[in-house]
């Protein structure tokens, strides 16, 4: 499936060459040069090694199409690849403990070179989303998730969707801004279940 995506990158590059002015370097050349420049401009520090600058195909395509229309075929491919990568819980259960989920949603640490790699990461949901109404300090990059479960119904299907969306958001909307928490090993399966409960447990403050 990676081959398909690579094929699409090549087509994109060729198109850019055709429209590009004869003297200016092509878009693909600039991209290659920028990547090279970045590799020479960063130092490994703590847990943040230089391989973090190596983009996977999803990151490459999403960088290329930021601010432009994402062709339907490219979007579908990104979603397919990422959806297939999701590891569903072996016990078939999606709901953990919302109280623990609330703590995880509040915490923002994890994977920065200044963070202790031995400590668990947070999900930092409140950085971008409104959730429990008691928390006033929430961001607006993502939609409000207040009354998420109450509005949609506490169905098994929705629980599964939320679990998958947190595991790998790119599977549900290509070039989503949300980190792929499971796919990139930011959160554990148990942590994701707790965050699912924060959104989907009828007792969670999110649904009050």
């Amino acid at each position: 499936m990676n081959k398909e995506i690579i094929a699409w990158t090549v087509v994109g590059g060729a198109a850019a060459l055709l429209i590009g002015c004869a003297t200016a370097p092509s878009d693909a050349e600039t991209t290659a040069k920028a990547t090279q420049m970045m590799k020479a401009s960063f130092n490994e520090r703590g847990q943040a090694k230089l391989d973090r600058l190596d983009q996977d195909e999803t990151q490459k395509l999403c960088s290329e199409y930021t601010g432009k229309d994402l062709p339907k075929e490219v979007a579908e491919r990104i979603e397919k690849v990422n959806l297939e990568s999701i590891k569903w819980p072996a016990d078939g259960k999606y709901l953990g403990d919302w109280k623990s989920g609330e703590k995880i949603a509040q915490q923002g640490q994890g994977m920065q070179y200044s963070d202790d790699p031995k400590k668990p990461s947070g999900a930092n949901c409140y950085a971008c989303h409104q959730l429990a109404p008691q928390e006033l300090s929430f961001g607006t990059i993502g939609p409000s998730l207040y009354q998420y479960g109450k509005a949609r119904g506490y169905t098994e299907e929705t629980r599964k969707y939320v679990y998958g969306r947190i595991w790998n958001s790119e599977g549900y909307g290509a070039c989503s801004n949300m980190p792929r928490f499971g796919h990139n090993h930011i959160l554990t399966e148990a942590q994701i279940k707790d965050v699912v409960a924060l959104l989907m447990d009828p007792d969670s403050p999110v649904n009050k």
């Binding site: 420049m37 970045m38 130092n43 943040a48 973090r52 930021t66 006033l136």
Partner: protein, 273 residues
């Protein structure tokens, strides 16, 4: 004495009580308004002036193995011209055959004029508690000499144009375990992280507002922070490795943002929470 930052002082007491009211009322929009008022109150008595004064002193001091001052340093407008120099940086310097931002140029002058080794010149580039940074003092002084002057980055030299294009690519480069690019947080109008407003740096207005207010005294850190620091800390939060001080990538991104801010009246060193 006409400095607009020296204004009414007694507002802070009023503010803290109204902040409390806002929180009790669970009124989030007014909480944001109150933070804006807090920021306005901070404008009075900006400790960045302490850095500006120290930088101005250091600028004139004979230093380094060659025992000369930086008064002959060419920041782009000729040797010794500081007034307005920051508003035209980054730019291409023929003597170095490189596009340089202010901090890179200062390091160049410390090496070429004062005889410091490269390693000594970049040492302690960001200060910390009990560890004052000369770099931050120099930057505070030089930028203060551009206050009120419109940003005017030419980017006409082919190498400047290339830096701009590379900086633009970097801005949209998604990577790392969180898939973040600069654009993830700074590509849309009117968004926030928690209660922190995010400038949309892809628009002229957003870039102008952001770029013209760095460097800044960060009240939460008790330090004056430079634009190199701002980029460095963004990449830390992006979960990238550490951006090297005065690296090409840091200059490219600065070029992209500085040029996009052209026309803005430069207004720093500022003060931020």
């Amino acid at each position: 004495m006409s400095n607009p930052r020296w204004r009414a002082f007694a507002r802070i007491a009023v503010l803290s009580s109204s902040l409390a009211v806002a929180i009790v009322a669970l009124a989030q929009t007014s909480a944001v308004d109150e933070i804006a008022k807090y920021r306005a109150a901070l404008q009075d008595g900006n400790p960045a002036e302490l850095w500006e004064a120290r930088g101005a002193e250091l600028w004139k001091q004979p230093r380094g193995p060659n025992k000369v001052s930086l008064e002959k340093c060419d920041l782009g407008l000729g040797p010794g011209v500081v007034k307005g120099a920051y508003t035209q940086l980054p730019r291409y310097f023929a003597d170095a055959d490189r596009v340089m931002d202010l901090e890179t140029r200062l390091v160049w002058c410390m090496v070429k004029l004062q005889g410091f080794s490269e390693a000594d010149a970049v040492k302690n580039h960001f200060g910390g508690p009990g560890r004052k940074s000369d770099n931050e003092a120099f930057v505070a002084f030089v930028t203060s000499e551009s206050r009120g002057i419109p940003m005017n980055v030419a980017a006409t030299h082919p190498k400047e144009q290339e830096m701009y294009r590379l900086g633009e690519k970097m801005f949209f480069f998604r990577g790392g375990p969180y898939d973040f690019a600069c654009a993830s947080c700074h590509g849309v109008d009117n968004q926030r992280i928690r209660l922190q407003d995010l400038p949309n740096l892809t628009t002229k207005e957003g870039a102008q507002k952001a770029y013209s207010t760095w460097p800044a005294y960060r009240v939460s850190q008790g330090e004056l922070r430079t634009f190199q620091w701002r980029l460095n800390d963004c990449f830390r939060q992006q979960r990238f490795p550490e951006l090297k001080f005065t690296s090409d990538a840091s200059i490219a991104l600065t070029m992209f943002l500085a040029k996009n801010s052209n026309g803005a009246a430069y207004d720093a060193p500022a003060i931020k929470r």
